[in-house]
Amino acid sequence: MPSLDDLRKRITSVKSTQKITKAMKMVAAAKLRKAQENAEKGRPYSEKMNNVILNLSKSITDKENAPKLLVGTGEEKVHLCIVLTADRGLCGGFNTNIIKKAKSYFEKIISENKTLKIITVGSKGYDQLKRQYKSYILENISFKESKNINYFDADKVGKIIIEKFEKNEFDVCAIFYNKFKNVITQIPQEQQIVPLNEDKNDKDDSGNDNDYEFEPDEDEILSNLLPKNISTQIFKAMLENSASEQGSRMTAMDNATRNAGELVDRLTIEYNRSRQAAITKELIEIISGAESL
């Protein structure tokens, strides 16, 4: 049975923790709105980019000589995984979910005896993965200094990927990030960016009437466009990630605030009870003392 003093101290400490989580929730809510806006603003670009590439790849007849970024190297031996996480913690299951998704993919690759290479973006992912997969991690990129997500940063990651591809350092490249669905739900995603996966778009193949004029020719456009598309996909993933991070943090902090409130209530009741018990005990002592006289 803790003493009255102990209880009082615990109540104050829980209350101050509650204040912090409440403040963090407010901050996350404000940031979330901005991040969500940015994610929505960024969507048209990546959508249009996808459309153009889709139209282009349809018109490519000579699959043999198509750019390798589109059709792949023909092998599937070396997998490069880009794991995008947050730089900061205290955001619920946000980072863990991405890592979980990535780990199951890693296990699959390793069990199939393929080579695995990892690049982590964001320090939290690196922290969680380095224990188990240290030898596979090529580098860790962090954009802690840049306040907002910008295309320039995404382009840096994109350039690293292209450079490695040109040196034949990998065959398949996949990125892992959280897709923002709504404030409560974020879905961890695995997306293959090299070679470009277009199976799901096969359905709307009917409208093949748009014969484009290309200037210069298709190959040249594609080989220029594909590296850009990689940066765009990374950028999209970063935007989705940042919205998800704030959403996840907001819900996590909301829960924490509520839990702290419940804890304070419970502790207060316990405190009042033991105070009352102490008073009653003292009264009984006085009364029985008086009676014995």
Binding site: N38, K41, P44, M49, N51, V52, Y151, F214, I221, K228
Partner: protein, 132 residues
């Protein structure tokens, strides 16, 4: 019949410009400038550093772009670019900085002809902006 069509200029961060009342757009494609009017055949092309001019009924706008892709289809012109600014808000310092960085790049030995051509062109366009 109306002779107007739509234009969408988007950069990665946001939709930059969206209009539905333009009658001519001149874009600096890699193989020369292209003027686009309504009912142009579908085309996909690349941009080189240059100036996009958008003529609408009420006004004429000019934007500097560094690179990008254009697609014209169903009377909608989509311009995807990562670097664009309105000539009206051109920042003198930024322009001169870009010129000097491009010139520094040009002085390197290991660049190929195509890149040299693009950089030369970029410097030229930027200089013409800074004069105006």
């Amino acid at each position: 019949m109306s002779n107007l069509f739509n234009i969408d200029i988007v950069n990665p961060e946001q939709s930059f410009l969206s209009k539905d009342n333009v009658f001519e757009v001149v874009i600096p494609a890699v193989e020369g400038e292209i003027g686009i009017l309504r009912d142009h055949i579908p085309i996909i092309s690349f941009l080189k550093p240059g100036i996009i001019r958008v003529f609408s009924e009420s006004e004429e706008q000019s934007f500097y772009v560094e690179d990008g892709i254009v697609e014209f289809k169903d009377n909608t012109l989509s311009v995807l670019t990562s670097s664009i600014f309105d000539l009206k808000d051109a920042d003198k310092n930024f322009v001169s900085e870009s010129i000097s960085s491009a010139e520094a790049e040009l002085s390197k030995d290991n660049i190929d002809d195509q890149k040299r051509f693009l950089l030369n062109h970029k410097v030229e366009v930027l200089k013409s902006i800074s004069i105006n």
